[in-house]
Amino acid sequence: MALPKSFQDVILRLQSYWASVGCAILQPYDAEVGAGTFHPATCLRALGPRPWAVAYVQPSRRPTDGRYGDNPNRLQHYYQFQVLMKPSPADFQDLYLGSLMAIGIDMNLHDIRFVEDDWESPTLGAWGLGWEVWCDGMEVSQFTYFQQVGGHDCKPVSGELTYGLERLAMYVLDVDHVMDMPFNDPKASVPLTYGDIFRQAEQEFSHYNFDQANIASLKRHFEDAEAECAALLDTISHEDDSEEPTILAHPAYDQCIKASHLFNLLDARGAISVTARQAYIGRVRNLAKQCADAFLATEACQEPVSGSTA
């Protein structure tokens, strides 16, 4: 198979590949998140008994990783490609290897290794076992079998794949600095590099994240998001009995995501001491846990009823 020519080519190939094996190709979630795992299509849908199979690109924000666009592979805004299949298929490893072939990695020439790396997200109350996948010594993906999310056992278990798209594409395209990577076809009428598109934003956001973000208002926003999340979940128990209460799991979870991102900003801003850090993480985890509890009570988490219509 011919090698991809650009960053977007890698993305498009991953999307077509996972579509071809039966995944729904979703679009990014429209909220600031630290990783593709935070997308409700992963974090919430990994819960409950119903089968699920999705793949999507998720822009991810890690404020502390900003390097003003200078570092060859560190960015405060980058892309993850995320796959979630529930239950994890028996040939999940083979499906994954197929995706590497789809982006031009010749399995006969490369050394693919599954190196132990257990995954844990303290803010999501989630953990799983798996590996980081190495291609010729380079980490190209995280491969995880979810065991718990929001403190709940995953039954069935979801298989999750996360590709760090920039790093993977740089490897496949043989580029040393992320900003030099062709974003579209270099022969296109308007050839654009990754730097053309993101360098300025990386510089601006690095300044914002490290120096300018208003600590007091960030703290306030955090409190607000936390309160809103709790309030939304609280309506469940106070709704009057006349009709079934609508559980607002998704709106509440949006607030949880917000709180998590605000915490990351505060962290980058150096506004959180070592001891306070644990407390903040605990607060976000508590929200995630409650959202997971609420989501489990919704329609999406009931046993699928076959052959009947309401």
């Binding site: 592979n73 028996a90 599954f114 190196v115 076992l129 010729d136 380079m138 065991q147 490897y171």
Partner: protein, 743 residues
Amino acid sequence: MTASYELLVELLSEEIPAALQRKAAEDFKHLMTSKIADARLTYETASAFATPRRLTLVIKGLLAKSPIVREERRGPRADAPQQAIDGFLRAQGLTIDEVEIRDTPKGRVLFACKELEGRSATEIVGQALTETIRNFPWPKSMRWGSHELRWIRPLHRILCILSDGEATKVVPVNIEGLIAQDCTVGHSSMSPEEFAVSCFDDYQEKLKQAYVILDPDKRAEKISVDAVKLASSANAELINDRTLLAEVAGLVEWPVVMMGTIASEYLSLPAEVMRTTMRTHQKFFSACDPKTKQIKKFIVVANRETPDQGATILAGNKRVVAARLADAEFFWQEDLRVVESDMKGWFEEIETVIFHDELGTQGERVRRITALAMLFAHQIAGADPKQAEDAAKIAKVDLMSKMVNEFPELQGIMGGNYAKHAGYSAPICAAVRDHYSPLGPLDKVPSEPLTISVGLADKLDVLAGFWAINKKPSGGGDPFALRRAALGVIRLVLENRISIALRPLINMAFSFHFGQSTDVPDSEEIETFADSWFDLTSSEQPNSVIDASHLNPTIARGLNPDPLVEEQSQDLMTFLHERLKVYLRGEKVRHDVIDACLTTSKSDDLVKLVSRTRALAELMKTEEGENLIQGFKRANNILTQAEEQDGQRYSAEVNKTLINTEAERALVAALSASEQAINQAIDRADFFTAMRTMGALRQPIDAFFDNVMVNTECLKTRQNRLSLLAWICQTCSRLADLSRIEG
């Protein structure tokens, strides 16, 4: 049936973490063989192997069927109440005609005799395997898909066959739809096809043809041999790394060793940095120039052969290592910039970084360590207090460096490198580099006097600090590695024969922690008293109050410890003694011998304490020693009994005029002579002579007991003889509490 079986089991899963494989293979063997043995199926040999994807077990010489067993149960007497007889029959599931009635000395008794049919190997193995898989002791296991089964990673295949040399049969096992077969697959990418096997030899051979080396030792050996060969082909020397070798052997089924050259722009990096970068991030081995020890090659172990002879794999790895070394080079250059500005940035930063919430900043810690290091240097031959000051002041600056932030395991090593760049003398660089050592019971103990001084200061400060805030190790919990620090103190002192009193220094360490941080004495204040300090604290007058009115109050408090310092310091000394016991037990010294010496001497000079212990251990190995103990115990018992009975203590004052036997006279003469000799030997810390002298008392003591009655009619004589016993006890007790010796 005499034929014996060979059992072969393979459990094939997704990649098992390398660190767990060896233990898993052992557990697999242990669980299976014990279950099989419990079912009375005997076997000759069992071996287990692990690869990244397989756990394999082979058991040879297995019985085809477990032997018939006759089981006999004794019941009630034949004339027992009907109720008892019925109960027995019901429990055994027998009728009255099916039980035997035998004559016994207790009358006629019912016996239920059953013959248990032997069970087939197939049945026993099937059950054992099912139970083993369901209850495998993985430290952390997982579920996958919709299965309830737990394994380390998804379990995909079970191979389970019994063969008798002619025929092979599959043992029926079905775990959640996973059905045992007689086939497996080869290497995941080079030979993924399924193939059937008939026995272990066939299995191992076919695996090899399918690019899998089953035995981890053989994989490790191949890696090791090929790596050495490759390195020497490039005039380089492979740096041995057993831990890495074991890990890498657990990451590959078909090891292919390749070597690459490190780009010249990174050759200025310190060897340890290069090695750690490549080892931690890439699991590469390093090879160095045999003369300069500069690392120039990396050795990578791939898991496959390729049509391009590994060119793509090597190129990819080279790129990754170049990026990693570029990171390291960046850190190194950034750090050197700080070094060249006299480490100014780090000295400032160290004042702001918290060491521990309750123990202040790293800067405060460094001042305490500096003061202690100088005090140690004053007492350790060959250590210069000025150098100790310099070394201690920069001992922790590398914690502020970018490199140590990235690779915490390089602490100390980087410090040594930075010190060298800053132009410090070789002993100072060595002290900075090695002051954390020894890190465990097997780690090398530094022998440079300066390094010892800084190392002891560092460890005492950390011990006193966590003692002061009551974060002592408890049970299994020791989050601050204080046991390791204590062992470090013990090994530094003993293995370098540093014979010094530790208590005054421990007192000082506590005083530094209890006062205001600004009160920690600076080097000038240390010098004002340190020279005369050794005399002041000589063990002759341990409790004398020292005039410290003109000194810094923290020093004064250390010199004349108040009750708080005294109590904490005593407690820490007890902890050190406890750890010393553990250390000595590891050295195969009998625990009662250690106890006997520790009861007599709570010495804070560990070298003397251990010398005493070893001397007693030596004496105990001789016939004389053994007998002396018996003599001492006899004397001690008679004396104690008499003292209890008479309600008084007998002094060792013997009235020579009341002596009227030859044996008594000989004993008195021996005691007078040896008491003096023992005291002199103790003063010289010559415990071997002292113990030998004590051992020589055995003969006169034995002769005394053979010929003399202690409890005679004549009260005065009895009293005098009891005093003689008291004298024996007192003399021996100068050396050790022999009543603690067992047996």
